[in-house]
């Protein structure tokens, strides 16, 4: 490469020069600057820079700088007015000092003065200083804006460009306020010079990024889109960046850009390499523009117009064909530019995910790159294939490269490339190759770089679980993981193996045997001790028949590790010991002795001490029956999605987990063991000691948990994490009983807001899907379904089945008719692609029976008369519950009004109580409801009573409302 060579030659020369410089005095050093110093050399500046370079120590440099700063300060403060040249020189020196990393707190005013100089270079330096060192001093900003305004209206293109560059570099809100309305005019005006248009387009883009609310394209939209047709390639190159950004936010307004972009692309792709003159880069026609065009197209779904689509597919095919042609140049720049376009085209093909033929071709092309001698290409091919692996059309094609990828994992010298290989193996894994891939990843783990071990461990754990056919393989894999990379095995991983062993009795004996063997190793990881303690405590009996693993041998083995372990592990082991007493009465005396010894019963750690004392007492006073009940085998854990997955997602960010068909859950729900936001029943959350056995004792202490399965949820995952079809937003759902508008769901990718209104038995719900990322979601699909019999009870009309793309926001309307009373809620299912993974989300729509309430006003006498009429047992429902929210009168009133009933004053003889009345309007009948809420502020309790004219309705309302107060 000539340039590199030139650089190297120069460097030698420069180094010699430096050596000389060091020896020479200051003045000669200045004369010894690089020969090429175009423009007006500022001698003083050059001397200063030489001085700095000649400083032998940091201290000397600081001293020299301080001297210079003092000098400049005195010059600026001096009585003598400085001429433009000196001002420019000093401002430039300040800039240099700032760029060396020192703070500069003066000179701004002088720089601003330079802006209005009539000498170009002075103006230019002024602008440079402002661009690099903006100060939010409002007085100054006003002056700067004034100067910019003058230059913008000067009609001198060079000055206009300078001003536009400055706006683009600073991009502050104040500048947006001052110029956002002016720049579109400059951009589309017929007499604007091309170079000014280019600057204006990108300047506008920058302002749009800072203050989108101030940049209103409105009437300019169509003229801006048509810049794609401009004759000047540079104008198109600059404008397309602006158009891409605007399209992302307002896809509909800009959608005409698709056909324009396709025809522009087509012209470039089919042009000969010399057609575009200086826009051809190493024999590749307009690589930057091509990439930008392909990127713009990724903001949109495939073109609907057949002709446009055909033309685009042709382009993509041509690009793929060109990749097969022999290179026109041996220069790396040629292949880079060509491949940059190719990779962007592949991104578009993946984005469309609808052309099997192109997807497979893309995959084959990437396959060739996997063995390319350029590290960069191997890296990119591995990365790009990851997304191809998640497409149903190309998954199989990707899988054929497994050996190459495994080889890359073993032999690549660059850790970032190995990382990509590991990612790809993970993405291409399915039932057919899981054993091979997991084995390879495990063996890689032994030598893997520390930086990626934790992630690798999580991935192995997930694959092992996801594709386990026989669970002994799964147990082996996880125990291997702990053995190879114990330090990186997070709690989630070993919790999970225990969860699975508990739930599958066919693997329990094997697990006990394997863990027993693993514990024989003289040095074994603490995580292994934890798993061992837990599993032997539960299932040690399954291997106790073998004299080599008799109860006492098991116990001694565990206890030999005890003293080396941390407090939480010891606590777990103590629990395992008490379980041993139940499993194997013959170990009782030995274990009691251990518990009784001072190091346990007087342990300085209160948790250990308490366990030792309690277990000792329990074992001595409880009868065998009681002991057997208390220490019974753990009940199976409720099946739910692996919490490890949540952890990996959290680590890698959304979309990074590209195993196909992953559930996306409430991401904040990834927190384990008593995560942050546990809602009302957090009282039952045990201390995060990482101890499973301990939790068993702790769980029943809390109030009876409301949601099923939350007993052990605390250990393994948040309540929000649910299996595929269940809704994930129970809490969000309940928040909407007494209100109609708000955010229903939010994770890192998506926010769903709702607004709803109800009249009689009809309702209308607006759903707002907000895309929080900067990329569009592809294949965004929403469906509303009514589980079970609900269909016959409420009728969602105008069924909002939607499929398409989700840019910034999509709005949908759902019309609902209530036919008769109902209990379940309709489910909203959302699927979309993001970062290669399919996101799948099911939410309960907050359509509850109370939404169809009509308030009914009545006097005290009427109320009690009706109350008495509704006296059959099934007409009444009552609940007494603890207050979960504020008991403030106003808050309560607001909630009861939100419920939809009329809040009746002066009805209840006790003024503290609230009574309400309403009629539920359904198509088939009207249901009268009366409500009475009796707060007891002292006890922080409520009694809620409901009486309705229809059975079951009281109970449903009571259940819903009890969660509200």
């Amino acid at each position: 490469n000539e340039i590199t060579l030139a650089f190297r030659r120069q460097r030698k020369r420069a180094a010699n020069r430096d050596k000389v410089n060091l020896a020479r005095c200051r003045r000669t050093a200045a004369a010894n600057m690089p020969a090429v110093s175009k423009g007006d050399g500022m001698r003083g500046l050059a001397v200063f820079i030489s001085d700095i370079r000649n400083c032998k120590s940091k201290e000397a440099e600081i001293k020299r700088i301080n001297k210079e700063l003092a000098n400049i300060r005195s010059k600026f403060k001096g009585d003598k007015a400085l001429d433009g040249y000196s001002k420019k020189k000093y401002v430039c020196k300040l800039l240099f000092i700032f760029l060396l990393g020192h703070d500069i707190d003066f000179g701004h005013m002088e720089a601003v003065n330079l802006l209005s100089s009539n000498k170009y270079t002075e103006k230019q330096i002024g602008y440079l200083f402002i661009s690099v060192l903006v100060n939010s001093n409002s007085e100054l900003i006003r002056l700067i804006n004034n100067a910019i305004k003058n230059d913008l209206s000067s009609r001198n293109p060079t000055f206009m460009c300078l001003a536009l560059h400055c706006i683009a570099n600073v991009g502050s809100r104040e500048m947006a306020e001052a110029f956002a309305s002016e720049i579109p005019r400059i951009l589309v005006a017929g007499d604007t010079m091309d170079s000014v248009k280019q600057s204006a387009a990108l300047c506008l883009l920058r302002l749009y990024k800072t203050s989108p609310d101030l940049v209103l394209m409105g009437e300019w939209t169509s003229r801006v889109v048509h810049l794609l047709n401009d004759q000047h390639m540079g104008v198109v190159t600059a404008a397309i960046s602006l158009i891409t950004c605007l399209s992302q936010k307002n896809p509909d307004e800009f959608k005409t850009c698709v056909s324009l972009a396709v025809s522009r692309l087509s012209r470039i792709v089919s042009s000969a390499s010399t057609d575009l003159q200086d826009y051809t880069y190493y024999f590749v026609p307009a690589p930057w523009l091509s990439c930008k065009l392909l990127r713009l197209l990724q903001c949109y779904p495939p073109p609907e117009d057949g002709a446009v689509k055909g033309r685009l597919v042709e382009c993509l095919e041509t690009i793929l064909n060109k990749a097969q042609e022999p290179p026109k140049s041996k220069k790396v720049q040629h292949s880079n530019a060509k491949n940059a376009i190719l990779f962007e085209a592949i991104s578009l093909i993946i984005h469309y995910d609808s052309e099997p033929n192109l997807l497979v071709r893309a995959c084959n092309q990437l396959g060739q790159f996997l063995q390319h001698r350029e590290t960069n290409l191997r890296y990119l091919a591995l990365e790009s294939m990851c997304t191809l692996a998640s497409s149903e059309f190309s998954h199989e094609a990707v899988k054929t490269h497994i050996e190459t990828v495994i080889n890359a994992l073993k032999t690549e010298r660059d850790v970032s490339v190995r990382q990509r290989a590991a990612d790809l193996l993970y993405a291409m894994c399915d039932r057919s190759n899981a054993k091979q891939i997991v084995a390879e990843m495990l063996s890689y783990l032994e030598t893997a770089d520390y930086s990626i071990r934790e992630e690798m461990v999580l991935k192995v754990a997930i694959l092992a679980e996801k594709y386990a056919v026989d669970y002994s393989w799964y147990v082996d894999t996880i125990l291997n993981l702990i053995r190879i990379a114990g330090d990186y095995v997070s709690e989630e991983v070993w919790y999970r193996v225990i969860q699975i062993v508990i739930n599958r009795d066919d693997v329990q004996g094997y697990a006990a045997k394997t863990v027993f063997e693993a514990l024989q190793a003289p040095a074994c990881h603490e995580n292994m001790v934890k798993v061992g303690g837990y599993i032997l405590g539960e299932f040690g009996n399954l291997i106790a028949g073998d004299p080599r693993s008799s109860p006492l041998v098991q116990f001694n083995l565990l206890h030999s590790k005890f003293h080396l372990c941390s407090v939480p592990t010891r606590a777990l082991l103590l629990s395992a010991y008490i379980k041993f007493i139940n499993l194997f009465p013959e170990t009782k005396t030995t274990i009691q002795e251990v518990l009784r010894c001072d190091s346990q019963i007087r342990n300085s750690d209160v948790e250990l001490q308490q366990r030792a004392v309690e277990y000792l007492k329990l074992s001595s006073i409880a009868s065998t029956d009681v002991l057997a009940t208390v220490l019974e085998e753990m009940p199976p854990f409720p099946e739910r999605e692996s919490s490890i997955l949540a952890k990996l997602k959290k680590k890698k960010g959304p979309g990074a987990v590209s195993v196909t068909e992953l559930e996306d859950n409430k991401r904040e729900g990834g927190e384990l063991n008593g995560g942050a936001d546990r809602g009302p029943d957090s009282a039952s959350t045990p201390s995060p000691s990482g101890d499973l056995l301990g939790i068993r004792a702790a769980a029943p202490i809390g109030a009876a948990p409301a949601s099923a399965g939350s007993l052990l949820v605390d250990v393994f995952s948040e309540a929000g994490i649910a299996v595929s079809s269940a809704a994930v937003n129970d809490e969000g759902f309940l928040r909407f009983v007494c209100k109609n508008n708000g955010v229903l769901f939010e994770n890192q990718l998506l926010q769903i807001g709702i607004k709803s209104e109800y009249r009689q038995n009809l309702g209308r719900m607006y759903l707002f899907y907000g895309n929080k990322t900067s990329v569009q979601f592809a294949s965004f699909t929403t469906t509303v379904s009514c589980p079970g019999e609900l269909q016959t009870h409420i009728l969602p009309k105008g069924f909002p089945h939607f499929k398409g793309y989700c840019g910034a926001q999509i709005q949908q309307v759902l019309n609902i008719e209530c036919l008769t009373d109902f209990i379940d809620a309709p489910l909203l299912n959302i699927k979309f692609r993001y970062g290669g993974g399919l996101q799948n989300l099911t939410l309960k729509l907050p359509v509850t029976i109370n939404k169809f309430f009509q308030p009914t006003e009545m006097a005290s006498q009427d109320f009690f008369q009706r109350w008495k009429q509704l006296s059959q047992p099934q007409q009444e429902a009552q609940k007494i519950f603890k207050a979960n929210h504020s008991m403030d009168t106003e808050v309560l009133k607001a909630k009861l009004l939100g419920l939809g009933t009329a809040l009746l004053d002066n009805v209840d003889p006790n003024p503290e109580n609230y009574v309400c009345a309403g009629v539920i309007q359904t198509k088939s009948q009207q249901i009268g409801c009366l409500l009475r809420l009796e707060p007891n502020a002292q006890a922080q309790m409520y009694r809620l009573t409901l009486r309705c004219s229809k059975d079951l309705v009281s109970q449903r309302l009571c259940d819903l409302l009890a969660e509200q107060f």
């Binding site: 650089f7 050059a46 270079t121 960046s241 530019a337 960069n376």
Partner: protein, 166 residues
């Protein structure tokens, strides 16, 4: 009801910043396309310099760093280093670097590190003509150099005469 405040700044930013530094870890040029405070800039610079300088010659030119992608290339004693967003095109960024080097080379005539040190302001002017707000403004070498040379011609000409030229 729905606010997207966090989207305001980072939506569709292509290049986040560009740094030029020497093998000795001396920063020679910095250009930031996202608003960051000085402290943050210094922190990023320090971390990135360490990371890049620690890499061996044959390694690939891309690395994941924080939630960005860093594309870098070494020319003689100088490292050119760009941070782009995750979905951005690495290879084209590599060629952006190369084109910038070509521009410097053409302008200074076999550019070397000293040229950039002593004429840092020119290096900035060339960069601004080539990239604006982190996006390619003009990719034609001729056009960029023409703009710079025109500006050089203007240096001592007073405003009145300038307006006669156009």
């Amino acid at each position: 009801m729905f606010r997207w405040s966090h989207l305001v700044i980072y939506i569709c930013v292509q290049m986040q910043f560009m740094l030029l530094f020497s093998r000795q870890g001396k920063l020679r040029l910095q250009k930031w396309y996202v608003p960051l405070c000085d402290k943050e800039k210094k922190k990023i610079t320090r971390e990135l310099l360490q990371t890049v300088l620690a890499r061996k010659p044959k390694m690939c030119s891309f690395l994941e760093w924080r939630d960005l992608k860093v594309v870098y290339k070494r020319y003689a004693s100088l490292y050119f280093c760009c941070a782009i967003e995750n979905q951005d095109n690495e290879l084209i960024t590599l060629e952006i670097i190369h084109r910038y080097v070509e521009l410097l080379d053409k302008y200074f005539g076999s550019v070397c590190e000293l040229d950039i040190i002593f004429n840092f302001e020119k290096a900035y002017f060339i960069l601004d003509e080539f990239l604006l707000g982190g996006e390619a403004q003009e990719t034609s070498k001729k056009n960029v150099l023409k703009a710079i040379e025109q500006a050089d011609l203007l240096q001592e000409i007073v405003l009145e005469t300038v307006s006669q030229i156009y």
